[in-house]
C-alpha cells in the first residue's frame, strides 16, 4: 500500500469525523428537545416522544438510513448523499440522546425541582440553571458511550454509498487486493478514534461510582 492509498483513507477518516460531529451536534439539539418533551408532564408530548424513541431503538440503523435516504428523494428533495446521511444520523442520535438525557433529568432529585419552583423560577431558568447542569454531569458517561456508538455507526454510510472511512477502505481494497491489510488499518483508525473516548467514559463512570458511595 502506497502513501496515496493511505492519504485516501485519511480523507475518508476526515469524513467519518465530520459525519460523527454533525450527527452528534444535530442529534444533541433535537435530542435535548426530545428529552424535555419526554419529561414535560403533557401526555400527548410524552406519548409522541416515547414512540419516536421506541421506533429508533427498535429498528436497525441501516434501515433508518435507507428510509431517510430514499424517503427524502421521494418527497422531491434532491439532496447530496452527504446531506441525506447527515439527516439520518441526526434523527438517529436525537432519539438515543433524548432517551439518555431523559434518564439523567429524572435522576436529578425531585427536591431540586420543588426548590426551584418554590423560588418561583421560570421553566426556562429552572431547566437551564438548576436541572440541566446537574443532569449533564450524570449523563456524561452514557453520552460519551453513545458518541462511540455513533462513530462506529457512521461506517454504515458506506452501504448507502457515502465515501467515509469504511467505503474508502473498500475502494482501496478493491484496487490493491490486500483486504486484510486495508481493513486492519481501517479498524486501527477507528480504534484510535474511539478508544480514548471509551477510556474517558469509563474513567468518569468509576469516579461517579466512587462519589455515589
Amino acid at each position: 500500500m502506497g502513501s496515496n492509498e493511505f492519504l485516501f483513507l485519511l480523507t475518508g477518516l476526515k469524513w467519518t469525523v465530520l459525519l460523527s460531529l454533525v450527527g452528534f451536534v444535530g442529534g444533541g439539539v433535537f435530542g435535548l428537545a426530545i428529552a424535555l418533551m419526554r419529561v414535560s408532564g403533557r401526555p400527548l408530548m410524552e406519548r409522541f416522544t416515547s414512540g419516536y424513541i421506541a421506533l429508533f431503538q427498535g429498528t436497525p440503523l441501516l434501515m433508518q438510513l435507507f428510509v431517510v435516504y430514499y424517503g427524502l428523494a421521494l418527497v422531491g428533495l434532491k439532496l447530496d448523499a452527504w446531506v441525506a446521511v447527515a439527516i439520518g444520523f441526526t434523527l438517529h442520535a436525537s432519539a438515543y440522546l433524548g432517551e439518555i438525557w431523559r434518564g439523567s433529568i429524572e435522576a436529578v432529585p425531585k427536591g431540586q425541582t420543588e426548590a426551584a419552583k418554590a423560588l418561583s423560577l421560570s421553566y426556562v431558568s429552572r431547566m437551564r440553571d438548576v436541572i440541566l447542569p446537574q443532569a449533564i454531569r450524570i449523563s456524561l458517561p452514557a453520552t460519551i458511550g453513545f458518541l462511540v456508538q455513533l462513530i462506529k455507526g457512521t461506517s454504515l454510510a458506506a452501504i448507502v454509498g457515502f465515501t467515509e472511512l469504511t467505503r474508502a477502505g473498500n475502494i482501496v481494497s478493491n484496487q490493491i487486493f490486500q483486504p486484510l491489510l486495508v481493513f486492519g488499518i481501517v479498524g486501527t483508525l477507528y480504534f484510535l478514534l474511539c478508544w480514548p473516548l471509551s477510556l474517558y467514559g469509563s474513567h468518569l463512570e468509576r469516579r461517579m461510582a466512587i462519589a455515589a458511595r
Binding site: Q57, P60, Q64, F66, V67, L74, V75, T166, G169
Partner: protein
Amino acid sequence: MNYKLDFTPVIDGMPALLMGCLGTFLLAICGMALAIVIGVGGVILRDSRFAPVRWLVKAFVEIIRNTPFLVQIFFIYFALPLAGLRLDPTPTAIIALGINGGAYAIEIIRGGVQSISKGQIEAGLALGLHKAQVFRLIVLKPALRAIFPSLTSQFVLLTLTTSIASAISAYELTSVAQRIESDSFRSFEVYGTITLFYLVISWVMMRFFAAISTRYFSYPVK
C-alpha cells in the same frame, strides 16, 4: 409530490421477505449462542493465572468494542479463507456476530459474577448445602438475574445488527429486501416495510425476555 407509492413488489415478495425473517432469526439465535459461549469462556480466561491470557481477553474486548461491526465482518470475511476456512457468507456472518456479541457478553457476565459476594457462598456452605446447590441457587440464579436486563437488551441489539450482514450478502431479511429493491426500484416501499418487520421482531423479543424475567426472576431481593 408526484410520486405514487406502489406496494405491489412488496406484496409479491412477501413470501420471500417472511423467509428472510426466518434467516434473520437463524443468524440472531446462532449469533447469541456463540456470544454466550465466548462470553463465559472469556470471563473464565479473564481470571486466568497467566497474565498474557488475561491481557489477550482484555485486548479482545477493547478492540471489538471500539471498531465498527461492518469493518469486523469484512475483516473476518477475508481472514477466514486465509486461515483455511472456506465458509458461505451466512456462517461467516454468524461467526462475526458471535465474536462481536461475545465481547459485550464478557463485560456483562463479568459484572454479574462480581455481584455475588464471597460471604454468600460461605453462608450457603455453612448451612450445609451441596456445592452444586450453592452454585445453582446462590451463584448462578442471582448472577443471571443481575445480568438479565443488560444481556437481553444486548441480544436485541445483536438481532438488529444482523441487518449489516447483508453487506457480505448473508441470507437474512435485509439482503432479501435488497434483491427485491434492485428488481423493482421501489426502495422506499421495500425498506419502509421491512423497517416495520424489524420493529415487530425487536418488540416480540423484548416481550419474550420480559415474560421470562417475571416468570423466573421476580422474587424479592431483601
